[in-house]
Symmetry: C2
Subunit: 253 residues, 2 copies
Amino acid sequence: MPLTQVETQRLYRRIAGQIAAMIDRGEFVAGARLPPERELARELGVSRTSVREAIISLEIAGRVEVRVGNGIFVRRTGPAKPAAGDDGPGPFDLLSARAMIEGEIAASAAKRVRRADLDALRETIADMRDAGDDAARRNAADRAFHLRIAEATKNGALAQVVASLWEQRGGELWTRIEGHFHTPALRARTADDHTAIVAALEAGDPDRARAAMHRHLARVAREFQRRLEPEGAARRSATGPDSRTVRADRRAH
Amino acid sequence: MPLTQVETQRLYRRIAGQIAAMIDRGEFVAGARLPPERELARELGVSRTSVREAIISLEIAGRVEVRVGNGIFVRRTGPAKPAAGDDGPGPFDLLSARAMIEGEIAASAAKRVRRADLDALRETIADMRDAGDDAARRNAADRAFHLRIAEATKNGALAQVVASLWEQRGGELWTRIEGHFHTPALRARTADDHTAIVAALEAGDPDRARAAMHRHLARVAREFQRRLEPEGAARRSATGPDSRTVRADRRAH
DNA sequence: CGGGCCGTAGTGGTCCGGCCACTTGACCCT
DNA sequence: AGGGTCAAGTGGCCGGACCACTACGGCCCG
């Protein structure tokens, strides 16, 4: 079932992906007007219906806005800042944002976590271990781990933010790098990180929980970066998650 | 222009709204299969094209999933939890989550804010003042204020989280209470809060920025609760934004 | 009797052509 | 200079057609 979905991507999603990629590459800056539907259909060799469907999906995703009779315009706020320049691509923003947000969530959860929450969290850790080479299952368990922590705060809005941040993990860059996390050594590291977070939650220690979550996500970012650019990542690591980690340490005092 | 957009809602959004309302009312539970496109089109008196567009928007919004050759199924996780009972994401959850997240964002922004950011923020404050009784304009300026802070972090993912949290403000309960914030006194308080946040940002003081944002959103929550339950507001204790507000949320239900 | 294969009905996916409402810009008239 | 009209271009919606996929029922064979 997940295999079928990966292989058979619907046309409207493919078109939307292409248009989003153009936006992310800066071909169309915020406020710019996209080509008309009829022209996009001609250039992409598809029907106008399919272009319309793609545009609607981008509209709902907040990437574009449609002005009737006028055209389709790129919206100002998107997941990736197109012309930010030196502030790395989406995945680093995402990990940095997650560290900030999920660190606070973990701290809040430490103050109100219950036995059932802890049991559920341990279950996700075991599930990730049992998943072995089944990437879909491991991914689902990883997601469940982070979502359970948010749910332990008893705040539905936080759970939704975590779920939303998780959904944004699925991108081209992530797909390319995903195989990296298949090694048993990195899996073990993740399980250790998760276990440390659960221990901090069980101890009811907000600062420790926050720090454990920061450590976990900072490590993921480092691994990610190491994989992405093995040679020449010096500048980015100076402005990226490492500085975020330093900030977190100060807060922990 | 905003007036035109309010009046002219596109058909696909109207259809999607109707289907979402059916889901929220429990006519279709999670996992249930919606009627086929052709049948929906017939029953709603629209073309199948428009139904398809509505379904795509619901799909992107995470409300349904489409299985080719099989049908359209209601997804388990949606923005509204229909049968969650007493822990649904309500306004207090939202404000609590915002305090937690936007506090950290303000702290991060204090370390990297620029003159242009500060100018833009001051512009939103002036815009809110100039808006007077124009609720739509005031709302837009308020939104811009919070979003500009997130943008000052130079992290697109954070900006999106803030935008997403903002979108969830528009609910039935919010609409009922919104008139409360029309008083000149409360408007002035908001302007003062915003000004204090900008001053902290300008001073480059993360702790001060965090605290100012917490104070702002905690006050909004207090005002909100006072409006909701005018006779239960006297027992508020000031221990911290998230725990206090979440407790109040429980009492409200 | 049970399992596998085939055919049919129903599903969503995509395309195409058509017409309508809205927007904008150019041109003309007062 | 300002206002009105018209044409071109835009997105919005409709309806028909055909294709790929899925599920189910019936039939045949071991």
